[in-house]
Symmetry: C2
DNA sequence: CCTTGATCCTGTAGCGACTACAGGAAGCAT
DNA sequence: ATGCTTCCTGTAGTCGCTACAGGATCAAGG
């Protein structure tokens, strides 16, 4: 059994974040030691790692929680997991496309800008309707 | 001179957002009519459009404000504009790269998942250290 | 003149996912 | 006894809005 600092080190989830997850009901409340401090089992640390992995993949906390619940359920069927993942993949794809559009637009805007100009063509464009 | 609703319609910036920009000091406080309502000139609406364009390009509000100030200054030299834009372009590029990595990782994870599986390989991976 | 509906006002709270304190109580090592 | 670290609770800040609540005012129609 580990204190919150150790759980943080082992899971890679920040101390404040662990307490936040607890407040939000993402992870179950840990037991407390005689002095009132939180105590974490290796299983509890496993949950934190799981959440960390989900977040690293860009899943929202709500999705991460859903995946965690799926992981905990007896029959962890792929169907629901795939559903969440595919939605997320689509969102990522859309975000990439959007950013690429921004990138292209911004590159075009800056192309005509050159140091020393008195009147900036980019500002000019930004002022347009 | 226009009321806030008309300014919103003409600039494409939401009413609440206009008031928010005012609170935050992004745009100057408009004059008030006798009954205390905000009144916007075409110039003021131009500022809102400018901000809208900046935000559409993904600039942070702080950057947008900086660009707006540059636009208003007498000598609007390209140097400072380019500086802000290039930083933003770099940030966009980094974000795209990051999202592509996520996309690839997630695609690999879901590849081994198939409907009807009793034990989901993706959840398995998420549980790992 | 009265009512209805649209628009406006201020002020506050909520979103997501943390992060950063403040202010205090333990524990541990010297 | 002292310092240092870790822990606790509770609150507020981040970003850029957005959504109310609760009220005032306006313009048009009957």
């Amino acid at each position: 059994m580990f204190a919150i600092g150790e759980a943080s080190r082992r899971s890679g989830v920040g101390i404040e974040t662990i307490r936040y997850y607890e407040r939000e009901g993402i992870v179950p409340r840990p037991e407390r030691s005689a002095n009132g401090r939180r105590v974490y089992s290796t299983e509890a640390i496993g949950l934190l790692k799981f959440l960390k992995n989900c977040r690293s993949l860009g899943f929202s906390l709500a999705d991460a929680k859903a995946l965690l619940d799926l992981s905990g359920s007896a029959r962890s069927d792929c169907d629901a997991v795939l559903d969440v993942s595919k939605r997320h993949l689509r969102a990522i794809g859309e975000k990439i496309a959007e950013l690429r559009k921004l990138e292209a637009a911004l590159e075009e805007l800056t192309a005509n800008c050159s140091a020393g100009n008195t009147e900036c063509p980019m500002l000019d464009t930004l002022r347009r309707s």
